[in-house]
Each structure stands twice: as structure tokens, then as C-alpha cells.
Symmetry: D2
Amino acid sequence: MKGKRLNIGIIGYKFMGKAHSNAWAKVGQFFDLPATPVLKVACGRNLNNVTAFAEKWGWEEVETDWKQVVSRDDIDIIDIALPQHLHYEIAVEAAKHGKHIFCEKPIAMDVEQATEMYNVSEANGIVHYLNHNYRRVPAIALAKQLITDNVIGEIYHWRSAYQQDWITDPNFPLSWQLQEEYAKAGPHWDLNSHAVDLAHFLVGDIQDVMAMTTNFIKERPLANPDCVGSLKVEAISTEKGEVTVEDAALMMVNFKNGAVGSFEATRFANGRKNKLSFEVYGSKGSLTFNLERMNELEYYSEQDADGVKGFRTISVTEDVHPYVKHWWPAGHIIGYEHTFVHAAADFITAVSEAGSIAPNFKDGISIIEVLEAGLKSSLEKRVVSIK
Amino acid sequence: MKGKRLNIGIIGYKFMGKAHSNAWAKVGQFFDLPATPVLKVACGRNLNNVTAFAEKWGWEEVETDWKQVVSRDDIDIIDIALPQHLHYEIAVEAAKHGKHIFCEKPIAMDVEQATEMYNVSEANGIVHYLNHNYRRVPAIALAKQLITDNVIGEIYHWRSAYQQDWITDPNFPLSWQLQEEYAKAGPHWDLNSHAVDLAHFLVGDIQDVMAMTTNFIKERPLANPDCVGSLKVEAISTEKGEVTVEDAALMMVNFKNGAVGSFEATRFANGRKNKLSFEVYGSKGSLTFNLERMNELEYYSEQDADGVKGFRTISVTEDVHPYVKHWWPAGHIIGYEHTFVHAAADFITAVSEAGSIAPNFKDGISIIEVLEAGLKSSLEKRVVSIK
Amino acid sequence: MKGKRLNIGIIGYKFMGKAHSNAWAKVGQFFDLPATPVLKVACGRNLNNVTAFAEKWGWEEVETDWKQVVSRDDIDIIDIALPQHLHYEIAVEAAKHGKHIFCEKPIAMDVEQATEMYNVSEANGIVHYLNHNYRRVPAIALAKQLITDNVIGEIYHWRSAYQQDWITDPNFPLSWQLQEEYAKAGPHWDLNSHAVDLAHFLVGDIQDVMAMTTNFIKERPLANPDCVGSLKVEAISTEKGEVTVEDAALMMVNFKNGAVGSFEATRFANGRKNKLSFEVYGSKGSLTFNLERMNELEYYSEQDADGVKGFRTISVTEDVHPYVKHWWPAGHIIGYEHTFVHAAADFITAVSEAGSIAPNFKDGISIIEVLEAGLKSSLEKRVVSIK
Amino acid sequence: MKGKRLNIGIIGYKFMGKAHSNAWAKVGQFFDLPATPVLKVACGRNLNNVTAFAEKWGWEEVETDWKQVVSRDDIDIIDIALPQHLHYEIAVEAAKHGKHIFCEKPIAMDVEQATEMYNVSEANGIVHYLNHNYRRVPAIALAKQLITDNVIGEIYHWRSAYQQDWITDPNFPLSWQLQEEYAKAGPHWDLNSHAVDLAHFLVGDIQDVMAMTTNFIKERPLANPDCVGSLKVEAISTEKGEVTVEDAALMMVNFKNGAVGSFEATRFANGRKNKLSFEVYGSKGSLTFNLERMNELEYYSEQDADGVKGFRTISVTEDVHPYVKHWWPAGHIIGYEHTFVHAAADFITAVSEAGSIAPNFKDGISIIEVLEAGLKSSLEKRVVSIK
């Protein structure tokens, strides 16, 4: 144990609860941190479930009322590991109590919520982090370095797609992600929020947007309402309900710096499990990335000698690469969960050094502005400008 | 020599003249045809150049006036191997003389030209072929078979990009392809015409379109005007002229069958030489293709057993695959030029058997309708429907 | 905490100490185990270092004399996380004290050591595990399933290579791995032990062997002797010492079942960081694997329909795949360290259920027999049979 | 038609007859040659077949007795497009008549034949070429350039495999390639001759050899004897005959320059159609190649900046690459048959400029020496040195 102890209260214990707990438990073993994260209290509505969760992950205490957690004096950090419709209320309350916030993505249900989350956080001087964890994939952090170092040059193209296939079966039930009241939108909100965050990170601000959304399957069997936040969803009825979010979203944008970009988000790409891919083309070079091979970055340099130019596959597993020296020798790959550990490390550092971290609630506002413009464009069938 | 002799007159002797001549010369050696194509007369404005060309490729005669060629009684086929601004006049005249037409793509400068080319051709009962040669890449022909045989199921997504990088250098001169009067548009016309043709072929008709175009480099050194149709372009001046076509075009569409599609065409993707790639996602399976690896098709089947599903790379070089039995044993790949030979074989068969062939001028109209809708959408910043 | 508590004493705190500790700490969070592993005592010769290590990983106590650890009544499991020259003495002593053993690979310095380790272990009824962890890469476990289920058929070929590049720099110092007294041999011992283990696992027993070894760099700067077991090695002198192990080893074998196999192990393959790859060709299908993309298995089925045969890339990240349901949703990859967690889970299960686990010391003997036959073949320049 | 006319007599009209004829017919259209190859006479034992062949490919005359062809005064070049057991007699006779020889590989049935072919050729001052055509794949020619330019440095490793699967079916008949009297040996002769030629070309001379051969299927249905030289083989009987060549061969070598090498040749690698692959690892960089993607070369440079090192995929389709400027624009790939055209171009140049060309009969001797040493090693189960 080193430095100050930082007590964490986590709210949510399903998919993201597991991923975040693993990060808090592991980060001190691989990173030398200026403070020690303490897994203090886990909160969920079902006492049995949250107790089992806490025991497994080493959370010292349990709680069923999140308001109790955010108002405790001994808590330094609130970790919001819940679906997006629950972020706003908790984040605002936590910020008012001066708690630093580690918040799962997408930030919220609309720009108004995101803006208030940001304003209250700033007013209370807390560190706020929005967990678009892919910025901390070493290959993407390397991409950022290469762009910052101007080895890619002026950027012309951003081309991305986030493709999954988990609802192609028409009998897959009407889970919370398919209902507007919980999810706001479909892959456009869930997946494009990641892609837009990366586009902001790697290319820059977006000026205007054209988008198109569609539904392939309009009704599905009703699901167990307890599924919210969980990966396992069961149908509870042969009765069907309406799918109230899109199944796929396409979007084209102009960036303020003159680049053009495309986004595609879908849950109907059979064979793609979690394929977030992007291509960046610039005046000096190009980059491509595929999350299903997240330890690799492809890089093309126009500066290479004639005759030997080509996309090179960088195994982003060397000590010289971002975050990697904390893990294993070169060629020994890391996985999905490691990005959460990187986020935890940077967040603990930001909190203990009174700094800030990106992406945060301000970045969250920008993302939502683009996503909302996309939904508007899709409805109005025209270009929508970002203010 | 078998069957009837079919005398060909080719107009144009540059890049496409070479590719077409090679096809006519070679097709009879690899395919058993119902008639024999005869390289009768080559036509070009520069007598020296066209004479050298004819000698190299075995064209029996030369001519400098295309009107002489299309009106000769002994000519059966007119091969238009010229840039798009020259197609219309020659095609209409050739059709009026009852010549069968093998026409390079893109079909023409606008829907009106394309429509008249089609109407006159039909009125004169000729066989008309529009050389979107990629339909006859064996891997793409296999993709068509798989879709037709319903192994892909209902199609949800078409995702394509045609990426090149030959004008990323700002000092690359103002070649004919960068001037609206010769080229009509940039990669949207040149490259997206191929991609739209394949989307029509594999997915179906398009209902509405949103598009966006942009220019990265606005002015370039003036080029030698003799470059039209040629691959080699020299700057002739330090003086610059305006680039009057787009450098990149993005497009999203709704297909009439409910699928959504995206297109991206650019000459600014550093590292991509001639990368036409597409992905098709359907309810039963998926397909991906990349022209730079044109002997391969990737296929995912949702019907594969649990635990062993995955995209398989089919080496489309076996006798069971379209066109392949005419070439070499399995694993011995073919190249770009072979697609022209396939087109020549099917065209000769269509002509000698009084049949028709696709794509033809009717398909050309459909392609241009979509491309024009894209240009309009880009200007008006809204969705444009195809009538 | 569930079931019986199993107290672990770990000996060694460098690269493997870290990997093993992570596994013990993490396994209970992701797997439901019949017993609870307790990180009881960490042992190393340097008190300061081992104390820091224990604090970081949560080992309750520290010790500098391994004999004290293996003789403690309250210890159930000895984890030998040390280089191979130290395994024999500790394992034999631990077994005599009735401790279950989790032993790092390669098992020992020769067949005699390995055999005694096995005999004493069996005589004392302990569970012994040899950590050839790659058997528990999900993709390799899937390969085993496919072979066992006879979807590959009769196996004709095993083709493997384990390629690294960490000593291509002639100034890389004379680390312990390059000295026979510590390492016994070079990549033939370190890397081929993994490959031979996998060949035994997937193909079967080996009958005879031809091998060839070589050295590219004969002398290197002397290294800090404290480096043993560590990944970081510093030269301490400009003085040079002799490299006493091979730099590369090639081996061909006949398997008892008629298959033929090849092995290649090297530290001189520039660009390959930790590339263990293999190909298996059988009468019904084929498999290929590459550790640098360890979440993928390529599978070819001769039973696929004509026209759509090809190697398919299986993303071995679905719940139906071995070990995967304990981690994340499909497409969310895992990394190198997860194989140690899988080993820990299976080992704890074996210990608590009085079972056995593979690979174990018996498998270790078989591996060493093949490796020794390889060294002998290389010296005698002839085929050497395995008894 | 340019320069001197060089009259060619081809002997053989099956698979290689087709590939060679295509090369002679096409080479003048794509290359500016100092002389003009003339397809003068085609020779085969079956008059009907050879007549049809000649008509298709434009051979002016036909002949059924090869001795008539090699003794004609008007013939400049003898093209031996026959299986290996027929090379020796024809080549020696042709050389004695002063004909230049373009000879298919593998050169002959043993070192004695190859040596006499070479000696008589030299004595008669003819140009002799042995068609190991893969040296003229642009990607391999580029690999040679990179090695010659010392960008790969001192070579440590050659690792190659030539894998096919055309006889995995036990009912595939006993074609000539499976009979020692026609083929001398199996894939070791047919496929390893290519790989050894490339190893000589790219790495250097071989010093000693260890090899292992095996048979998976010992008897097969008898085949139509007319199949010799053809790709299509039919069983003519349910009666079976003995397979008298190996099904697979493994070989390890020491090169004279200190590199080590491995070779694997098989017709039992299900899913591999014509996969000749190799890897070269050197002190400054590495190269890999795969014939099924023959337009690509992978190159790793140890000189690249830290953090961006990786294997780059060079699309060997640019004008700066060997042979490519004669074909199509960048990214437009070529195929298998183009290597024959490159060979024809270089051969015509060598003949008309009284030069020599590689590989030739001297190279053929070296290849056979290695292959024979391999067969001997396999029999005697020990290392065999090349004299």
C-alpha cells in the first residue's frame, strides 16, 4: 500500500461492475500509483446479488441504496457501472457531495443531462472521467502519439465501423438495450459513442453530420426486466414488444479541419463479435486498427523508401509502447480488461495529483452532440451542423 | 479458328486499349468460343501511335477517324476504349450502324447520354456491354452465386470502399481525370460507378441516397493535354489550374429491399493502390472481398456448427469456381487483366448467340442515376430519392 | 471464500513469480472453484525484493529459505516459479513433504531429474503440474477438442516454429538463458519444450528425431548474475564470455502414428517477438495457430461444400469455447496471463478433488526425452530413436 | 516485329505447353525485346492433339517426332515442356544441334543427367535456361534485391514449405507423378526443387542436409498412361498399383555461409492448393513470401524507428518493382502465368545478346545435388554433405 488511500464506492455489479472491480483490484499490482484504491463499498438493488459480488471481488461492504453511498464521508470515488439512463442522477448527486467520478459510457441520455453532469462536476472541483476505455488500448494510444508527432500529416479520412452480431436471431428478446427508455438509441448510442470519441481523440472536432438509421426486426419476445445491465438476457414470454431503437446506423461527417469521416454501427453483422475498426489516411501516412486484434496497429508511411512501402503490422506489445511496460514481455498480448486497468491507473493518478483526465464529461457532451445530430439528421433526412 | 469470324474495331489505344486488346488476343486460347474474334482495325487520332499499337497487338489495320470505323460494313463489333466524355457520340453512331458495342465504363457523362445510348442500341437490336469488369472476377461471381443460392439470406448491409492514392502528391498534375469536362466527376464517377454496379449486382436496386464530397487540393500544375486516356501524365507548366472534380466522395443508401449501404471513393488513401473492398452481411452469412487480393473471397456461415464459426478465406482458384477451369490448377492465381478476358468470352458468346449480356447500357443508366443523385445530395445536403 | 482453503507457498518472484501470483489472485474472481487458493508465503533469496513482491501481490508472509517453506505444515501447494536448474531439488523435497506442486517449465535439466521428480511425486501421492500453459489457450484447447472429435481425421503433418528475436543484438549480454549450467540448452529447451508438449498433446508420441543446432554469436558481454529468472538483464562488463547454448534448433520427427513433424526454435528471427505457430494437416481438415494472435484458430474442413472450402478464422472468444465463459462477451479478447489463470483453476480443482492434471511430471519426462534425443541427434548427425 | 526472328520449337503440349505458349505469344506485347520469338513448330506424339494445340496457340507447324524438330536448321530455340524423365535425351540432342534451350523443371532424373546436359550445352555454346519460374515473381525478385542491397544483413534462417493437397483423396489415381520411373521422386523432386532453387538464389550454397520422407497412402488405382504431363488424370481400373515416390519430405540444411534452413514439401496439406512460402531472417531485417498471395512481400526492418517496427506488406505492383512496369498500374495484380512471360523476356534477351541467364543447367546440377543428398539422408538416416 502506497500513498493516500482512496475509498471507492461502486454502483452496479453486472458486466461493467465486474470489469471495473477487476481493474481496481489489479491496478496496484501492475502500476506504481501515487495512491491506493480501496474497494470500499459495492452497491446494488438486490442485496443477495451484490453481497455475492462483493465477496468475490473483495469489496469490503455492501449497500442497496446508492444515495447512502454517494453521501458517505469516507468515500472518495464513485464508480458508476450502470446503464446510461441511470448515470445522470447519480453523477450529479455524487458530484454535489464532492466525490470524484469514474463513469461508464455512454455518458447520458441527452446533451442536457451531460451538460449538467459536467457543470456540477466542475462547480464542485471533482475529477470526472468518462470510460471510453478504448483510448487506452496501447495500439490506439500509439496511434494518437503518431498523429501528435505529425508522422501521419494532415488527415484526410476517418473511416470506422463498429460491428456486432448478437441480435441477428429474431428470437433474441427485447433486452433493455433495445428499448429507448433505457438505452436512448441502439448501436448509434452504444457503439458510435466509442467511435465518435476516438474520432475526436485522433482527428478532431466534427462540424456537420449526415446519418441514416434503420430497423431490420421490429418486434421481439419480451425479456426479463432484471436483465438491465447484464449480458445474459432471457425471454420471459412469447408475447412480443416493439423494438424502439435502431438496429443499425450509418453516419458521414465533415471535421472542422477539413477531413471527412464515416461511421457505421450495427448489431447485424453476422460473424463480427466486437469489431471496432478504423482507418486514418493522412498526407504522410495511414493507420488502421481492429479491436478484435487489439494488440496490433497497422501503419503505412509515405516516407519509407520507394519499393518497400507497405502497411506494417506493429505488435504493440513492446516496452516502448504506451502502457505496455507494466505487463509482459514483447509478443505476450493483453486483452480487453487491461484497458480498464489503464483507465484506473490514470484516474487514480489524476485524483491523487489534483489533475484532470480525458475523456471526461466535457468530452461526453461533445460526443452526445454528434450523436444527437445524427439522430436528427436521420429523422430530417438532411445535413445537421454541430453548433 | 472456330465458327463465325467477328471483326472488331477498337477505338482508343491507351490504358484500356491495351487491356482490351490483350483480352481479344487471348480469349480464344483459353475459352472455347462459338465465334472467333478478329482484331480487324485499331483507331486513334495519332497515326504513329496507333500504328505502333496495332503492330504490337496484331490489329490488322489502322484508322484515325472513328466515323470511318463505325460505318464499315465488315466490322461487327465496336470496342470503345476511351474516356467517358467520348462514349456517347461514338456509341450512338455505332449502334445506328448496327454494330455490337463493348464499351468501357463509366458509361457516359449523364443519364440523358446513357439513356439515348441504351434506346438507340435497343432500337437497332445490337448487343451492348458496359465493361464493369469486376463482376467477372471469379470471387465476385462466386459471391453472386452464394447470394442467388440464398446461403447469405436476407441482406442487411453493404459496406464498400474504393481507395487509391495516386494524387496525394500536391504536385501531381491536373490530368484529365481531375477536370469535369472530361471526367464529369472524380472518384465518385470513376470508382463509385464500379462499386454501385457491384451493389446493384449483389444486393439490388437503390431507393435513396445521401452523399458528401470534398476537395483536399484545389489547384494543380497544368498537364499535357495528350494525357487523356493514358496513365502517364506529365506536368507541362508550373502554372496551376483548378481541380474541378471532387477528391473524395462518401455515400449512404437505402436499398429497395431494406438493406442499407455505404460507399467511399477516394484518391487520397495513402497506401491503397487499387483497393476496392466490400462487405455484405445477411441473415444467414456474410461475405467480404478486397480487389488487391482478388483471388480470395471471405465467407462466414451462420449455419456452421457452434464453436467453429468464422470467416473462411476461399481461394477462388478451383475448377468449381466461375471462369477458373479455363486457366490454371488450383492455387495458381490470376490477375487484373483476366477479368477482361472473361468479359470478352461472355460478350462473344452473347453476340454469336443473339443474346444479351450484363452489365449493359440499361445497367449503366441505373448506375448513373445513383451517381447523379449522390452529386445532387452532396450539393443540396439532403437525401435524394432515385425515381 | 468457498470450500477448503489451500495455502500456497511460491518460490521465485521474478517474471514467473508475477505471472503465477496474478493467477492465484485472480482465479477465484472468475472461476467458481471447489477450494480457495490462499497466497500464504512468498520465498526468495533477497529479503527486500521478496518483501516488496509479497506486498504488491498480497502474499501474507515472506521467507528467504525455500526449505523452510516446503516443510511447513500449513502449506498445501508449492509453486516453483524459478528457472529450470532449480526445479529438481525443490520439487523432490516438496513432494517428500507431501506438497502438491505447480511447477514452471521446462521441467528440469535432464531425464534423470525429471524421472525422479515424477517418481517421488507419485510415491507421495501428490498432484503435480508442469506449467506448459499454452495447452490452456482457448484456441489450443479447441484444437484438441476438434482432433479428439475426429473432425481433423488421421493426422499427416505437424509443422511448428517458436520464433523470438530478443538476442539478435550481439551486445545483448550473456544472460542465464545463454549458459548451459543454468539453462541446459537454448531455445531447444526453452521454446521447443512448449512445442513438443503441444505436439504430444495434439498429435501423439514421437518415435524418432533428427535435429540440428547452431550458434550465430559465440561470445557476449558478461551479465549481472542477479538476472537469473528476470527479464531485465544488464551487461556488467565489456569482458565477454562464451555462449554455451545453441541460438537456434531445427528438428524433424516421426510420430508413432505415422505423422511427420517439424520444429524450429530460435531467438534470431527479427520481427518475431513470441511467435509460437503450428499447423496440423489431417485427412479431414487442418488447423493453424499463432500465439501472437492467440484468440484465433484457423480451421479448414474438407467436409465443407465444394466451392466454399477455405481456412476459417475462428474468434475463440465465445461462451461455447473452452474457458471463455469465465471471461468477457464474444469478441472481447483475453491475453497471455489468462492461460495461467486457467492452469490455476484446473490445478485447484485437481488438488481439491484428489484428481490429477496434465501436463504433469510424466509428460515432462516425455518432453525431455525428445529434447535430449534432439541434442544427441545434433551432435551425432543421425536419427535418434525415442525408447 | 522487331529485330531478329527467333524460331521456337516446343516439345510438349499439356500443362506446361500451354503455359509456355502463352508466354511466347504474349511477351512481345508487354516487353520491348531485342528479337522476336516466333511460334514455329509444336511437337507431340499424338498428331490430333498437337494439331489442335498448335491451332489454338498459333504454332505455325506441327511435328510428332522431336528428333525432327531439334535437327531443323531453321529452329533457334527448343522449348522442353515435358516431364522430367524426358528432359535429358532431348536437351542433349538439342544442344548438340546448337539450339538454345528453354527447359522446364526439375532439370532431370539425377546429377549425371543434369551434368551432361550442362556440359554438352556449354560445349556447344548455347544459352540454357531452367524454368524455375518463381525467381521471376516480382516479389521474389524484390526479395533478391533487398538481400543483395544488404538491407537484410547476414542471413540466419531460411524456412520454407511447399504445400499442396491434390492427392489427399485415397482414390486419386496413380498418376505419373506418383511413379518413380517418370518422376524420380514425389514432392521432394517436384516442389523442393523450386524451394531449393529459391534458397540458392536468396541465401546461398548448401553444405549439408538431413531429410526425412514418408508415405501416407501406399497404393492407388491405376491411371490412364496418357496422363503423363497432364493435369487431368483418370483412373482406368479398380486395380491398384504401388506408389513409388514419397508423399511428403522434410529437410534441414546448413548453408555454407552459416545460415540454417528448413524445407517441407507435401501433397497432403489439406486446404493448401499451391502454397510455396518462405521466411528469411537476417541481422538487419526479415522477409516472408507466400505464393498464394504472390503479389505481396512482407518485410521487417530492424532499422525502423523504435515503436513502429513491424512486418510491412509491400504490394509489389508498382513501377519501381521488378518486371511490373510492363503490366498494369499499381494495385492491379498479376498472376501465375506472368512469371513465364518474364522468363521468356529474359531468355529472348539472353539469346539475342549472346548472354546467359539464370537459373540454368549449372544451377540445375546444384539443385539436384541437394535433392539427391536429401534422398540419401532419408535412406541412411544421417547427415549427408554436399561435395
